[in-house]
Symmetry: C2
Subunit: 358 residues, 2 copies
């Protein structure tokens, strides 16, 4: 018995077959693409190229493209898996448009957003995409962005909004996101629902908090929203700290500002020997890659990363090519992905038990 | 009751206290650093800077550094969480040495390693770190690296080895890694152990396969190692496919070439209604961030990402500054992190049950 599959043989015929299968085209088409025939449609060529990459084969020398230009892509960090997801998606889309992406990632004590902005200008980038940058911080100065715009450098901002910056903004609709989360928990019988959220300096935190309070009012008639909001950092440890506060004050369900915070909230529950979702229901935010593999698989609010990335790249490229800059904000609709970290509230279960035994 | 913590008040006194607490220094020291006093030690300044970043405060303008130069950091992709981990760690270390990192990430059909190399040369980088690049592919040409070295550009390679390239190599010791995994499974009573691995073109796959076969021979006297190796891709889907082959042929334990493959293997087991670890034991490779939160928490072989990144950055910086290039390979010791995806083999449990009931 040999378990070795064909990918490893190095035989060129098998290799053609593999690539054709992966790309969903004929081996003849793969040959035409690899031999640089011009009769092949761009989409087909792109599919073969992607198949080559997925299978890990070296690209032929003649595939090397001249870049249309450089585009900076500034992300806050790579620890929260939603940022690598944005980076990877935007990288691919920029490359397809012929641009070479320069990914600028930050870490505590590392290169700052401003230092990256200096570097990107020195290297004459055609435009910059900022993901959850200082534009999202209501207490940060926006001079850095105004200066770039004055110099005519196209900018697009993802997640964060500042009215005074002359550029398009792409956001996930945080108000709707919280409405989705709270409504789901209320339908499961919860009425002590808390929000674990990051620093209120950030517009995304402010909007989630507002959406959360609106939803508490709408679905539970509760107007003391502030009493149910625990503010910390957007990290695992932050989620754990915020969840501890909310569990101390008797909450049976927690909506979190990020998936990382939700993992921290699960950890806080487990440390108190509380079961998720039997004793506490927890909802994340982002639907980061691999988050469905967690224990329990996380119910979470999905940011449409692919659609948002497409809008950002389209917006930036049209600014680069036609110098038009719509300064409006595009808000994208989130989805509630129900997995296994949310369930019927303990009170509702008890009530149902009493009814069934009377 | 207010659950809002002090981070959100925006009060400058509270802010100083927060930063001081996070950095582990006095508020007076924080003031001295923020006011640019030269009497503060570099480490202290760095700690305050990191605290500022962790808490998400904007850095004062005077903190903006002039860069010592650019360093390219080429990673294959960001989907496997071990690559964002390497990228984030190396970014931080390069920044601490005064270099601005240019992160180049690939995706299927996106910008290729060669296109990035062209771009990095055009922008006159001082050096390049390659993580699991084409240097790890035994069938790929190394001309691209030779040309860079001929031009005097310092290079360092992580995970992958090619004797003919004139540069330092930093690897995780794959032979030892497999020995650790197999020994752990044998100690749990397993004797039908399989390896789920990526394409054998890659030196890292070849070494893991060799280490796995050596360990089967050493611990179980099995010399038919090839019969227990399933080759696929290093992805979740690849792990699922390889695990299906191994489960079909009666294996009760699977060592995987990556954590993603291990998640795929767990999924394959669950689809057959097999429990992990009761029916099948599964070991991952990498100990990627957040992998301890999976269901079940994954037993895995940890690559020492921090130590390997430090060695790579030290090597590159010394090449940049003194033009010396040790062409040797440094192998770093992996660790087995035992969580909950490995357990006593079904046969050993049955045998123990029989003994206890006789």
């Amino acid at each position: 018995m040999s378990l070795t599959t064909s990918q490893t043989t190095g035989n060129s015929k098998t290799r053609l077959t593999d690539i054709a299968e992966q790309a969903g085209v004929s081996t003849a088409t793969v040959s035409r693409v690899l031999n640089g025939k011009s009769s092949v449609a761009t989409e087909t060529r792109q599919a073969v190229l992607a198949a080559l990459d997925i299978l890990g084969y070296e690209r032929p020398e003649k595939f090397r493209n001249r870049s249309a230009g450089l585009v900076g892509l500034v992300v806050p960090e790579l620890t929260n898996p939603v940022f690598p997801a944005f980076a990877q998606t935007i990288e691919g889309l920029l490359s397809q448009r012929g641009y070479t992406p320069l990914l600028c990632t930050q870490s505590p004590g590392g290169t700052s957003e401003d230092e990256y902005i200096d570097m990107l200008q020195e290297h004459k980038v055609d435009g910059i995409v900022f993901v959850a940058g200082l534009h999202a911080d209501t207490q940060a100065s926006h001079t850095r962005y105004d200066q770039l715009r004055t110099k005519g450098i196209p900018l697009v901002f993802i997640n964060g909004y500042a009215q005074d910056i002359d550029a398009p903004f792409i956001s996930c609709d945080d108000l709707t996101a919280m409405e989705l989360g709270v409504r789901h928990l209320v339908s499961l019988g919860h009425h002590k629902i808390g929000l674990a959220i990051g620093p209120q300096r950030f517009i995304t935190a402010q909007r989630k908090t507002e959406g959360f309070k609106n939803a508490l009012h709408k679905h539970l008639g509760q107007d003391d929203g502030d009493q149910h909001v625990a503010t910390s950092l957007f990290t695992v440890e932050g989620g754990q700290a915020a969840a501890n506060e909310l569990l101390d004050s008797g909450h049976t369900a927690i909506v979190c500002g990020s998936d990382l915070m939700a993992l921290g909230a699960v950890r806080a529950a487990h440390q108190r020997n509380l079961k998720v979702p039997e004793d506490v229901s927890i909802i994340g935010y982002d639907d980061s890659p691999l988050i469905g593999f967690t224990d329990p698989p996380l119910t979470t609010i999905r940011q449409p990363v692919a659609t948002m990335s497409q809008a950002a790249v389209s917006g930036l490229v049209s600014m680069i090519e036609s110098a038009t800059a719509p300064t409006s904000e595009l808000q994208f609709h989130p989805e509630l992905i129900v997995r296994n970290s949310t369930g019927t509230s303990p009170e509702a279960r008890l009530a149902s038990y009493r009814i069934n035994n009377n």
